[in-house]
Symmetry: C2
Subunit: 245 residues, 2 copies
């Protein structure tokens, strides 16, 4: 069997998220599988690097699937982009070794979160950022980022129920760039727990707006309880940029 | 009477353009006038700096209107952005001298046009750029820009019917920046004829892809006939960035 790797960009605004839900037409996985079925004449199940929530976007989601059809990859790419809705674009189609698994082999991920930091909204980035009207203290948020970088048990920053699996993760990069009114938060790490990026973001924004102190980061690591951390920010500001293998 | 100046940003994707068309709900002018009627309790007619076509966007459209209501400008701003659809944002509301006229007093405009120059489309900028798959020769396009800059009769680059008004305009800046696959064309001038930016763009792209020579610019200036120039590119890549007074 051939093993095919897809690199996918999508604007998640209209979708219920990555994961196929029954027959729903409203998921990214479902849309892609439908077009692959047209292409190959068989049911195809694609394996994503991980789920993305409703409204979350991707610039570099990765998925793979198996097929015994001999269709060249260039033809697959062309067919997919011709029949997929225009807010889902397959950027690359590659043939990879049969043991490649988009989820199990992922060794890291890069996410972006965009905050529109102004009292006046943005007409263009409304589906791709979260508006925060209050002034945000960059220095305090940067201090908090420094505390989050490194290897920690991030259970307090996740929406996971109790789990037997390890909730220790390493954040390698967590940085903030400002361009005009837009703040761009970059997260690079070996893995992220369920809703971890959005809960860290909520915590950082509460620190930036002065409603909690930088030291609460240490408390959340010590207490290991979700309720200590900040609000979960909306999915619309979140982008899965890259999956590392 | 007070004279109020509005600076407006809009994503034109869902609209039939700036200009109100009867009772249509589908124009920017119509949307804003409806909210101003709610606010003031009277019919308000706003004067735009100029029309924008269906699908064209703005980062800095300017309009003005007269009112005898004493509502403070900060309150107007807040009310407008609360009740306008989210793809129309009023950035600024200012009280200006009674003689200010958004159209007659405009002394120049700045436009941007975005070209996505890759065979693979973009999921995010699909409503805000025009995709060109062929390789484009930057050097040839830059040469053509140099020929277009300055004071010329641009009638051959417009969709105007015969007119008695002057069709001489001055382009002060016409430049191209590349960021990744996105080409950003900037136009600054004292005024632009009907569809002039989109026809110049079509001509530049035909020069860049090799289907016409740089010298055809001189011929269009000499012949003064629309049919000599390139195709009109789609409105979706066009942004009115700023109006100068």
């Amino acid at each position: 069997m051939r093993n095919i790797k897809l690199t996918i960009e999508y604007d998640g605004a209209r979708y219920l998220g990555w994961q196929r839900l029954g027959d729903s037409e409203k998921t990214i996985q479902g849309k892609i599988e439908n077009v692959l079925k047209q292409l190959t004449g068989t049911e195809i199940e694609i394996i994503g690097s991980g789920r993305t929530d409703a409204g979350t976007h991707a610039r570099g989601q990765v998925a793979n699937f198996k097929t015994d059809k001999t269709i060249p990859v260039a033809e697959m790419l062309e067919f997919l982009n011709r029949y997929l809705p225009r807010d889902i674009v397959v950027k690359k189609v590659e043939e990879v070794p049969e043991r490649f698994h988009a989820r199990y082999n992922a060794v890291g991920k890069k996410y972006s979160y965009f905050v529109w930091n102004d009292a006046i909204p943005t007409a263009f980035e409304r589906h791709h950022s979260f508006q925060v009207s209050q002034k945000l203290d960059m220095e305090l948020m940067n201090e908090a980022c420094q505390k989050l970088i490194g290897k920690h048990d991030f259970i307090g920053f996740s929406a996971l129920k109790k789990t037997k699996k390890s909730t220790v993760r390493t954040i390698e990069e967590l940085s903030i760039q400002r361009e005009g009114h837009m703040l761009h938060f970059t997260f690079v790490g070996d893995g992220f727990l369920y809703k971890m990026v959005r809960i860290i973001m909520g915590t950082l924004l509460e620190i930036g707006s002065g409603s909690r102190s930088v030291e609460t980061i240490d408390e959340i690591f010590a207490q290991k309880v979700r309720s200590e951390a900040g609000e979960t920010v909306p999915a619309q500001g979140l982008f899965l940029d890259e999956v590392y293998y």
